[in-house]
């Protein structure tokens, strides 16, 4: 009986794979596409059983995606994996998933309203797909009534896939193929370091997925009960969103559609839990204890949410003149939504208390701060993350102390642990790159026609995987109104960069530049491999003859 290979061993047993082209990147992309096609297929069934409007579009998309994924994973096998390849794998997987994930929207003509041409439809579809898979929740969809239930559920499902990461899904499969997944986890998992629950990556991934699925089921049941058991479809759709801290809704006015305190309370609780590390949830379930209060990041996270909610409620009450109860309801919900990078809204319409673009500038700036920070490491939320913000704050305090005692050696501590200087530098580098991307994005979006405040909000929102932004791109508007087509593509790219925590995309771009440079000298590496393989096949045939 053959023993299973060690999942963390990079070298492979060629007997386990039928692929002849050695490329880890293509292989992972293939597996990820196959996984997405399963979701498309499920939504096709839902569409066929309900509205039947977009059944063909979904079925064709599932077929094309599944075939492409299956073929890619069949003809390729994972090669020897290096750090550079890991980043390329993660980055290209997300980019391709985003592009392929737009197929159902393109084929169904979801964005064919308002006389939009084919190019605009493609741009909008790619934007919606990027927003979905990056768990952002920004939308260009204006007509929420025309698409069928299956297609709308597919839109929600893109969040769910994106939440924990399509790549983590692939990691759960990769151990069978013998590819070391630890590096992939650390490249994909949010935060300064991956929070491993077990020494084996496959086991960690499995447990995270169990928690994720369990979390989604609990959220669905809670929404179902809070809405008076009226629509399981709505409950599941919003459960996908809160689990992934996404932001899409099946209604144009998001959670504001229900105008229900119970539904909003459920959403607030699950959004805050979604912005918390999933490994902590696992520990809570597995150990039957509550580890949350012992985690310093979680305490900081709750303190941040509490303080900002208090400030906003006071501002809404005093400056905007809302009644105290309305201020609490609007303030707490919006802080929970934006502080966890979810992006759901409880605005019942333009100008209602939940429509935060009508709030005083101070309150909106507090929200902008929340968009930058995001949730905890190890959660599905975006943004810089509370842990990194703490490191940056401590770094600033260390600079404060150095002005008094320039030669003092002052370590940075999180809780009782001293953080290594390498990690501190990496966090500082991450913050710098984030800052630089915000500025570059702002320049690009305003150059492509967008007003400054909307552009600032949208860029910060896209990088933080938030969803709605400020001004014209607020919770009761959509991005098609606020931004031109090229600007939307820039924002879509920023969403993917933000989802992957900046480094993988930039490193993949650097790797691509290196490849282009080397292919000028030696020819394209894949073609080289293919021609060598064909040569060997031809050689073996001539031997047979």
């Amino acid at each position: 009986m053959a023993s299973r290979p060690d999942p963390d061993t990079p070298d492979l047993d060629p007997g386990l794979s039928r692929g002849w082209l050695a490329s880890t990147t293509l292989h992972v992309i293939g597996l990820a596409l196959a996984a997405v096609s399963v979701g498309m297929l499920a939504c096709t069934l839902l569409e066929a059983l309900t509205s039947r409007r977009d059944t063909a579009a979904l079925a064709v998309s599932a077929l094309l995606t599944g075939t492409a994924g299956g073929l890619l994973s069949y003809i390729t096998r994972p090669g020897v994996i290096r750090k550079r390849h890991i980043f390329a794998t993660v980055a290209w997987t997300w980019i391709l998933i985003t592009v392929v994930g737009a197929l159902p929207f393109i084929l169904s003509g979801t964005f064919a309203f308002g006389g939009a041409g084919f190019v605009e439809q493609v741009v909008n579809s790619v934007f919606e797909s990027a927003s979905g898979f990056s768990a952002s929740g920004s939308t260009v969809l204006a007509d929420f009534e025309s698409p069928g239930r299956g297609l709308m559920m597919y839109r929600q499902l893109t969040h769910w896939y994106g939440g924990m990461g399509v790549v983590v899904l692939a990691v759960a499969v990769l151990p069978f193929l013998g590819v070391g997944g630890l590096e992939l986890i650390s490249a994909e998992a949010p935060g300064p370091s991956s929070d491993r629950l077990t020494p084996r990556v496959s086991e960690t991934a499995r447990r995270l997925w169990v928690v994720y699925i369990g979390f989604t089921l609990c959220a669905a049941l809670a929404f179902f009960a809070a809405d008076g058991f009226s629509s399981l479809y709505d409950a599941v759709a919003h459960a996908f969103t809160v689990a992934a801290t996404g932001g899409f809704s099946v209604h144009a006015d998001s959670i504001g559609h229900y105008d229900s305190v119970a539904v909003e309370t459920v959403a607030v609780v699950f959004m805050i839990l979604g912005g918390t590390s999933f490994s902590m949830h696992w520990r809570a379930v597995a150990d039957r204890t509550l580890p949350y209060h012992r985690n310093s990041e979680f305490r900081s996270y709750l303190t941040m949410l509490g303080l900002t909610a208090t400030v906003i409620v006071i501002l809404l009450w005093l400056e905007n003149g809302f009644p105290l109860g309305t201020s609490i309801r609007a303030g707490v919900f919006t802080v929970a939504s934006l502080g966890t990078s979810t992006g759901l809204s409880n605005a019942t319409g333009p100008g209602s208390p939940g429509d935060y673009v009508m709030w005083v500038a101070g309150a909106q700036l507090v929200l902008l701060f929340l968009m930058v920070v995001g949730g905890c490491t190890g959660s599905t939320s975006g943004g810089i993350k509370v842990m990194r913000m703490r490191v940056l704050g401590l770094m600033m305090l260390r600079t404060v102390r150095h002005t008094q005692t320039p030669h003092a050696v002052i370590p940075i501590r999180l809780g009782r642990d001293v953080i290594g200087e390498g990690v501190v530098s990496r966090v500082a580098g991450f913050f710098l790159l984030h800052f630089l991307l915000v500025i570059s994005g702002l320049v690009a979006v305003t150059a492509l026609e967008g007003d400054l405040v909307s552009a600032l909000g949208a860029v910060v929102s896209a990088l933080g995987n938030m969803g709605p932004a400020l001004n014209e791109s607020g919770p009761t508007s959509n991005f098609a109104v606020a931004f031109s087509q090229p600007a939307r593509l820039v924002l879509a790219l920023l969403m993917v960069i933000g989802r992957l925590e900046i480094f993988p995309i930039l490193l993949a771009a650097m790797g691509l530049a290196d490849r282009v440079r080397s292919s000028r000298r030696h020819g394209p590496p894949f073609l080289h491999q293919v021609s060598r393989r064909l040569g060997s096949i031809a050689g073996s045939r001539s031997d047979d003859v």
């Binding site: 701060f369 150059a447 480094f503």
Partner: protein, 497 residues
């Protein structure tokens, strides 16, 4: 007996400069509004006499500690602003004390925002407003090129100092101060002369010349430089470029040294950024290259002069100008902002971190003019940058809470912290503060002062407060423990009894 205090000594020196400037403004105002001239003359004379006497009784310590120097710098700026406010309010130039405080802070921080009505203000007041900017610029240069590198003598603070080139201009404190004074005054005189040649009257030439050399941007007119001719605009553009490039560039030019000019990475980046900003504005928005270049150099040198209402140029031009203002000038300039050198080093550091992701053991070297910076220095620069962002962010929130619009809050905070002044929104292209409510105006004061002090003194102030707090907490704990013990002893004594 002489009092040894760095803060007091520097305060007296600055007071002397302000006193002389006030006296000169009073003298220059004779014949225009004699009441103002008399009042300013008396205040200036009294301040000069007082500081001249006090100077003999106070001496700076031979080796002041970093904390005390930074705290002293913070105190110095605060006292100067309060003095200026007292002069404006005391002489009746600005009726309300809060308005006087805002005007004084704008003057000393070299920000081009004002509440003064140029049509009504006397020549003395207008000159005094300009002179506060000039003194503010002088103190900023002295802190950057003399205090930090020479007085602190600490390589550990290299991120805040001027590097090897500083030793050339400032071999020691006294020589450095003398040279900086000569260069700064000479540059100002050259600016005034050029403005006179371009057709400006003597008072206007003096006001605009002081505003150019100090990057203060005050002109005494409601439309900044828009009403002047092309010659004046050209003089202003060249003047702002040189002022933004800093005292080292002026030193190299005066000494006829071409090679340091070519070799300076910072100068190359400064010029490159200016060229890119100009091109970005001119090409994208179909704005004249002259106007685009003028506004780019005005923002990047953090002067704030305007030749047109640039707030109507479109969002992309506004963003380019915003970024230029945020980056700011070169080290050794009276202007503000994050500074070109720091921005470049931080970029290098971020690029290094990116490369380190691929190879964790890679040796990434970040250099400044041939010097390799240590990881410690880069970390401090990182902390500095975080503090800059925190200052801008909290400033924007403060403005937002004060009733300023979202656009005005964001732009106003960046502009105030970078000591530019004009901003999109309520403040506008010409830096008029009438459109801003009183809370908003007052919110600008700490931002302008925070930007002028630069980050280290601000952080040192925070550090001192934290230290005092820690000491106070320790003392109160100690006292409570002592009281508990006494209580316990007395109780045990009673039991024994």
């Amino acid at each position: 007996m002489r009092i040894v205090s760095w803060a007091l000594a520097s305060l007296i020196d600055a007071g002397l400069a302000v006193g002389v400037a006030t006296l000169l403004c009073g003298l220059a105002g004779i014949g225009d509004d004699n009441a103002d001239a008399f009042a300013f003359g008396v205040v200036g004379a009294a301040c000069t006499a007082l500081t001249a006497v006090a100077r003999r009784r106070v001496a700076p310590p031979a080796r002041p500690t970093a904390g005390r120097v930074f705290a002293g710098i913070g105190l110095l700026w605060t006292v100067l602003v309060l003095f200026g406010a007292a002069v404006y309010a005391g002489t009746g130039s600005l009726g309300r004390l809060d308005d006087a405080l805002v005007e004084s802070a704008a003057g000393f921080s070299t920000s081009a925002v004002t509440l003064l009505d140029a049509a009504e203000a006397s020549r003395t007041v207008v000159l005094f407003r300009s002179a506060t900017g000039w003194v503010g610029g002088l103190i900023a240069i002295l802190i950057a090129v003399v205090t930090m590198p020479v007085v602190l003598r600490s390589t550990a603070l290299i991120g805040y100092t001027t590097g090897r080139r500083g030793q050339d201009l400032v071999p020691n404190a006294s020589t450095g101060i003398r040279r900086v004074l000569i260069l700064y005054s000479g540059f100002t005189a050259a600016c005034v002369a050029a403005y006179l040649l371009s057709g400006l009257g003597p008072t206007d030439a003096l006001v605009v010349g002081l505003g150019t050399a100090s990057t203060g941007g005050f002109t005494g007119r409601v439309d900044s430089l828009a009403g002047y001719g092309g010659g004046t605009h050209a003089v202003a553009a060249v003047g702002m470029l040189v002022a933004g490039a800093g005292i080292f560039v002026i030193w190299w030019i005066v000494r006829g040294r071409v090679s340091p000019l070519w070799r300076s990475q910072e100068l190359r980046v400064f010029v490159l950024l200016l060229a890119v900003a100009t091109a970005a504005i001119a090409i994208h928005r179909d704005i004249g290259w002259g106007e685009a270049g003028f506004m780019a150099v005005s923002m990047m040198s953090t002067t704030g002069f305007a030749v047109a209402d640039w707030t109507g140029w479109g969002e992309s031009a506004a963003v380019v100008l915003l970024v230029a203002a945020g980056i700011g000038t070169m080290l050794g300039s009276p202007g503000g902002g994050m500074k070109v050198m720091r921005a470049r080093l931080l970029m290098g550091s971020a690029g290094g971190e990116l490369r380190r992701q691929l190879d964790p053991y890679a040796l990434i070297l970040v250099r400044r003019d041939g010097e390799t910076l240590t990881r410690r220095t880069l970390d401090r620069l990182g902390g500095h940058q975080v503090a800059f962002v925190v200052l801008v962010g909290s400033g924007a929130m403060l403005l937002g809470i004060s009733g300023v619009s979202l656009l005005g809050s964001v732009w106003g905070a960046v502009s105030a912290v970078s000591t530019v002044g004009p901003a999109m929104g309520e403040i506008g292209a010409y830096g008029r503060l009438e459109g801003l409510g009183r809370p908003g105006r007052l919110a600008l004061v700490p931002l302008m002062m925070g930007g002028r002090m630069s980050i280290p003194p601000l952080l040192a102030g925070v550090g001192l407060v934290l230290r005092w707090y820690r000491v106070a907490v320790r003392q109160s704990r100690f006292q409570s423990r002592l009281a508990d013990r006494r209580h316990a002893r007395s109780e045990s004594g009673n039991d024994d009894g």
